[in-house]
């Protein structure tokens, strides 16, 4: 009993470490004043000013959705090709795909800067930014799809051919539906990684283009009044993102619970 209490206490302590900063931020996002620690009364003031960061949010979401979509298509096809390839090219793609996973983001980003400079284009461009995000996320799509291919009964594809499908039909009608959960997981992972990224974006984004990461970084890294004036607005933004995340998590889990129950 004592042990149980102790372990529950420990878990609560660590959770507190994780959540106290977030809750502090949420509480003070409703503060009339600008500074944490000085409560000046309840207000939606900072929420009303959210439109000042609208561009940043739009940039972030567009970048995440578009790069994740491309990464998902490239990564899924790549995973299928790699999985069924017996030759050297498949192995080469497999190794190449693991490099961005193990490599540090700074090196990945800077290597791309070198390439862009060599190509003569500016080292900061929207094109480079999207490429950087796809390089970062596509390998994780591959890593989510490969296990599903491994789980799939290898004779399903052959069964489809046997029943009269062409290879393309068999792939589209049989293989893709089987690995769809992995593709979806990969897409979600790609979105989160892209949303979360700071280093690649900071290295490759064109001047004046900010995502949430780079914008928030600027306002907390630089101590000038100009830079930090947006900090309370980002508190409000954090609150909203946190609420959206919680809602998404709850909805997704309710759905999967429902599925499991209906199966029983």
């Amino acid at each position: 009993m004592m042990k149980k209490l102790l372990s529950i206490g420990y878990v609560i302590l660590v959770l507190a470490f994780i959540y106290i900063p977030i809750f502090l931020l949420i509480i003070y996002s409703f503060n009339e004043g600008k500074n944490i620690g000085v409560w000046e009364g309840f207000s939606f003031r900072w929420y009303e000013r959210l439109d000042t960061v609208k561009d940043v949010v739009v940039n972030t979401v567009l970048l995440a959705v578009i790069s994740a979509t491309i990464a998902t298509i490239l990564g899924t096809l790549g995973a299928i090709g790699m999985f069924y390839s017996k030759g050297k090219f498949g192995k080469y793609v497999n190794v190449g795909s693991q490099i961005p996973v193990v490599n540090s983001e700074v090196v990945t980003g800077c290597a791309l800067v070198m390439l862009l400079m060599l190509l003569g284009s500016s080292n900061r461009s929207i094109f480079g930014l999207y490429v950087g995000h796809i390089v970062l996320t596509a390998p994780f799509v591959v890593l989510s799809v490969i296990p599903k291919l491994k789980q799939m009964d290898s004779s399903l594809y052959e069964a489809a051919l046997d029943l009269g499908d062409t290879p393309f039909q068999a792939l589209w009608k049989v293989v893709i539906p089987q690995i769809l959960p992995g593709v979806f997981t990969g897409f979600m992972l790609a979105i989160t990684l892209s949303l979360d990224d700071y280093i690649i974006t900071a290295t490759l984004s064109p001047l004046g283009f900010d995502t949430i990461s780079t914008a928030v970084y600027k306002s907390i890294a630089l101590t000038t009044a100009q830079a930090s004036k947006n900090v309370p607005v980002y508190r409000a933004l954090t609150t909203i993102i946190f609420i959206i995340t919680v809602v998404i998590v709850i909805v997704m889990n309710l759905k999967s619970n429902k599925k499991e129950n209906s199966r029983k």
Partner: protein, 500 residues
């Protein structure tokens, strides 16, 4: 009534990464036949089936369907359907959609006659109603009428199996391929399904090509059995032929229980084994070494005066319908099946009818290898270096102290690097239960009991050379062993003249 050949395989080879999975397979299947490819795992039976289905392309050779070459035709263009080992039902489709899958893809040439009497041809798909009707009929065929809307993941193994069969036969293929379809079912279910498949074969009248490693299944169901081993066809015949007249000791050992003895022909239709001369019906050359196969149920226990050989029962096990007993005749074991059991230690006499003694040519009389002589006057062959007597290469020669061979004529020659043929008797190879101690090592790939000894085949690791040896001791397949051969038992003959 020789029916037309529907499938023909001519000199088919299949190679994977340098190893032959299928080697020179020649066979044909008659229309409407139930043919089974039988053999242990890795014998090439599934590969052969997959080449007929079109999932694998032969490395060499030709596959004909109704006389037309289909060797390179993709699977979706072959009028052949497959029932897969693990069913391969599409998990995202329900039972109905699974069965209708192939029908929806089928194209039909429909000829119309309009009011003016003109004939018009159109390519159409099956209508929804036609598909519906066919699916229902197929489900009825496999006794699962009300399962249309069920998800395939909720079905039991046996039900999934039936759906897989329905999905294949609904397309009315000319040939149905079945790849160990009953392998995942339990014994009782398997027996029932065997009969049902046989029944279905009769009703549908199409050709069935069946793959299994279960010899009983093969004998029960097939019109023709093809026994395969190491990618090669061993024997093709009716179940009766295969059982009663096995062509070699592998087939005899693989199909049913059998006694396999080493024997010698001692006269016209007379063979000597277990220290006794028996009359037989097969004729071989006198003094030829042969394998003798006798089925346990063909060994009859009789009264002493009628008995040909006597022995002592050393074990007796009740098997339901009969007793299985082992009798010792000298150092040989004879397995007997009889409805009457005898006590261990009891002396009994047996009789074997001439037609029940099956004689086949011995597969291995001695091991022959290509080798060469080393600097130290040893011989290298089959991944090993062995001490040998090189003076046997030249009559009357001897070795001098420097390792040169002194011929009778007084000439001195250097044997190093000379290619020789090496011959070693089956009984002259000693197997050692240890990787290190022998001259060459490998793993045991086959073991066959031959009455009073085992015939073991050891395959070396690098060159994959085989040592065939007769031994009294029992070993297990996959055992890691090494071999030792006494110096005087290695027989050498020159393949080229040595440099003088």
């Amino acid at each position: 009534m020789a029916k037309q050949k529907i499938i023909e395989l001519n000199g088919v080879y299949k190679e994977y990464d340098g190893t032959l999975a299928v080697e020179n397979v020649n066979l044909y299947v008659r229309k409407g036949e139930f043919i089974t490819f039988l053999g242990p795992s890795g014998c090439g039976k599934t590969t052969t089936l997959r080449m007929i289905a079109g999932f694998e392309l032969p490395t060499a050779g030709q596959i004909l369907l109704n006389g037309k070459d289909i060797t390179h035709l993709p699977p979706h263009k072959r009028p052949v359907n497959t029932v897969f080992q693990r069913y391969a039902l599409f998990p995202h489709l329900n039972v109905y959609e699974n069965i209708a899958y192939g029908l929806k893809l089928k194209k039909l040439k429909v000829t119309y006659e309009d009011t003016l009497g003109n004939q018009i041809e159109r390519i159409e798909n099956y209508t929804k109603e036609e598909i519906d009707e066919k699916v229902k009929k197929a489900l009825k065929m496999v006794d699962l009428e009300d399962f249309e809307k069920r998800s395939v993941t909720t079905l039991s193994g046996g039900q999934q199996q039936r759906i897989a069969i329905a999905r294949a036969i609904v397309n009315e293929p000319e040939i149905l391929l079945l790849d160990e379809p009953l392998g995942a079912l339990d014994l009782k279910m398997r027996k029932d399904m065997q009969l049902e498949l046989k029944e279905m074969h009769k009703k549908l009248g199409i050709t069935f090509i069946y793959v299994t490693h279960d010899q009983e299944e093969a004998l029960t169901m097939s019109d023709t059995v093809v026994v395969m081993k190491d990618g090669k066809i061993q024997q093709i015949g009716t179940p009766q032929d295969i059982y009663n007249e096995p062509i070699n000791s592998f087939v005899a050992d693989f199909i049913g229980e059998s006694n396999i003895f080493s024997g010698t022909m001692v006269g016209e239709k007379k063979v000597r084994f277990i220290n006794k001369v028996f009359d037989c019906v097969d004729d071989f050359e006198k003094n030829e070494k042969v394998d003798v196969v006798v089925r346990p149920e063909d060994v009859k226990i009789v009264k002493e005066e009628k008995g040909m050989v006597g022995g002592v029962i050393s074990s007796c096990i009740f098997k339901g319908v009969h007793y299985q007993m082992t009798m010792m005749v000298g150092r040989s074991e004879v397995v007997i099946q009889s409805t009457k059991g005898y006590d261990v230690g009891e002396k009994v006499f047996i009789q074997i009818a001439p037609q029940d003694i099956h004689i086949m040519k011995k597969e291995f009389v001695s091991n022959v290898y290509d080798g060469y002589i080393t600097k130290n006057n040893t011989v290298c062959f089959a991944d090993g270096e062995f001490a040998c007597d090189v003076t046997q290469l030249y009559e009357g020669s001897s070795l001098d102290e420097d390792g040169y061979l002194l011929l009778k004529s007084g000439e001195k020659i250097d044997l190093s690097g000379v290619d020789v043929k090496v011959e070693v008797g089956l009984k002259d190879i000693e197997i050692i239960d240890n990787d290190e101690d022998g001259n060459a090592c490998g793993s045991i790939i086959s073991i066959v009991y031959k009455g009073d000894h085992y015939q073991v085949i050891i395959r070396t690791d690098e060159d994959e050379e085989d040592f065939v040896c007769d031994t009294e001791y029992t070993w297990n397949e996959q055992d890691r062993v090494s071999v030792r051969i006494p110096k005087e038992k290695i027989r050498l003959t020159l393949k080229q003249e040595a440099k003088r």
